[in-house]
């Protein structure tokens, strides 16, 4: 039996549904197939050449999605990120087998965020306004696409949610933090079911932010499939992506009462702030985050069988994370990052990583880091996965760290540990 610290609420929280819209495809089976086959969703994005001063010409965009299945009167408030979120959430709910009445019940909520509201729509607004400071082109639905809570609000409307609608925002850590906060909401008894995750749509501004910080990849524009390169000695930065990852969380009692299939249990969650590291990673702060998540799970470090690392392929970030993993979990735990397959999908990345981790557990296969050819010295001290390995994984840690100094980690099991 897991021993838990007395401060942790007693309700256990399980995962019962997964949904994914990613650069690798528009559903979970496609995502998994691509990960196992080592395919990439990273491509040249020729439109980036039109942005003066931008060095990176590569991105991980979601393939065309068919949004017509979302009623126009709901969809008219949605930018791409809310469409991604809605499609992923529908997949997750179908996967969980929840009925429409259960979804609409006041004990069901959403906790979904994005890095910002729609940048594409914001640009559109200012393009219409700028020439003569006019709002004559402002549509009635515009605000609902640019507000910070756009994803959560639109998802709640599309699904008929009458419980909590929470819209956390923590840049690149948003998806993981949304899952953690949703889990805490259930653990505290506030809701029985929460649809949690993150979503983002890519605009050149997102890439430009990293480019300006010299953290975006720029040396592989002519061979985009070779970047990003987490942990590799020749890594040169992030490739930005888009998508949505959604999970259905439930209290264990709720899941068992309705006979739901349990895909995993959220054992621990940490959200910590690094006060001296708003724009640069801090190994010390990451150690604090990982230690806190592990302590909350009540498990010892040797119980962690895999780390799904944040590692985006930046020089500093990968090194800081590896130093922290080494300190908290040791050198023997298998580690991989999925950024080489699908870039950094921003607010979606943590939730997509969690989904991939649960799929790895379910299938007994660990997915390696794509584009990792020769690890650098510090990262190479860890057991970095280089090929798909058939290893049983019971407990894993999923990390997400953000510009702004918000760090997060989730400890998850692929089954109930007391069974």
């Amino acid at each position: 039996m897991i021993s838990r610290r007395p401060s942790i609420p007693t309700r256990r929280v399980v995962v019962t549904g997964l949904g994914a819209v990613s650069p690798l495809g528009t559903d979970v089976p496609t995502l998994w197939q691509a990960l196992v086959e080592g395919r990439t969703g990273v491509r040249a994005w020729p439109a980036l050449a039109e942005v003066r001063g931008l060095h990176c010409r590569v991105a991980a965009l979601v393939p065309d999605v068919d949004a017509r299945g979302i009623d126009r009167k709901k969809r008219r408030y949605m930018s791409q990120m809310s469409i991604f979120a809605t499609l992923a959430a529908r997949e997750a709910l179908a996967n969980a087998g929840l009925t429409d009445a259960q979804v609409r019940h006041e004990r069901t909520g959403v906790c979904v965020g994005s890095t910002v509201g729609s940048t594409i729509e914001t640009e559109e607004f200012f393009r219409g306004m700028s020439p003569g400071r006019s709002i004559e082109q402002l549509k009635s639905t515009h605000f609902f696409k640019v507000m910070n809570s756009s994803c959560a609000a639109n998802l709640a409307q599309a699904l008929g949610i009458s419980g909590r609608a929470v819209a956390p925002s923590a840049a690149c850590a948003t998806g993981t933090i949304a899952v953690g906060l949703g889990a805490e909401c259930i653990a505290a008894g506030k809701q029985d079911v929460m649809i949690c995750g993150g979503a983002d749509e890519l605009h050149p501004l997102g890439i430009g932010v990293f480019d300006a910080l010299e953290a975006a990849s720029r040396s592989y524009n002519d061979r985009p499939e070779e970047t990003p390169r987490p942990f590799d000695k020749d890594r040169d930065g992030i490739i930005c992506g888009e998508g949505a990852g959604m999970v259905v969380l439930e209290s264990l009692e709720h899941a068992q009462l309705r006979g739901a299939r349990v895909l995993g249990e959220i054992l621990g969650f940490a959200l910590t702030s690094a006060p001296d590291a708003i724009a640069s990673p801090s190994a010390h702060a990451i150690v604090q985050c990982l230690t806190t998540a592990l302590a909350e799970s009540g498990l010892s470090s040797d119980r962690v069988d895999h780390v799904n690392a944040h590692a985006t392929g930046t020089i500093q970030g990968d090194e800081a994370e590896c130093l922290a993993i080494e300190q908290v979990l040791g050198r023997d735990v298998p580690v991989s990052s999925l950024k080489g397959h699908m870039g950094h999908t921003m607010a979606a990345s943590g939730a997509l990583a969690l989904i991939a981790t649960l799929l790895m557990m379910r299938n007994g296969l660990l997915v390696p880091t794509r584009n990792l050819r020769e690890p650098d010295e510090v990262c190479g001290r860890l057991r970095l996965l280089r090929e798909v390995e058939p290893l049983p994984v019971t407990v894993a840690m999923v990390n997400s760290f953000a510009l702004g100094g918000m760090n997060s980690a989730v400890v998850v099991s692929g089954r109930l540990l007391d069974e």
């Binding site: 126009r72 009167k73 008219r76 004559e136 082109q137 402002l138 549509k139 009635s140 639905t141």
Partner: protein
């Protein structure tokens, strides 16, 4: 631009903006009852038509009397004529 061209542009704009089936765009089709418009669609209709024809509909009191697609056609044609015959043009 003759009246038929104006009507064609209006209808095409409605198909694009509101995803309407072109076969439903009969002049006697009522915007709310037949085409499913609501108050927000009315606001966006104004934006779309202003952009397409350069007419000022937002401050136009006659927009409140529009009930059918034919009313929309007639109002835009009228406003365009008024715009074109304004002194000083």
């Amino acid at each position: 631009m003759n009246d038929a061209q104006v009507i064609e542009i209006i209808n095409r704009s409605l198909v694009d903006e509101f995803e309407l089936d072109p076969d439903r765009l009969k002049p006697d089709a009522r915007l709310i009852e037949d085409l499913g418009f609501d108050s927000l669609d009315y606001v966006d209709l104004v934006v779309v038509l202003q952009k397409a024809f350069g007419v000022n509909l937002r401050e136009e009191p006659r927009i409140r009397e529009v009930r059918t697609l034919g009313d929309v056609h007639r109002l835009v044609i009228t406003l365009k004529r008024e715009l074109e015959t304004q002194p000083g043009r």
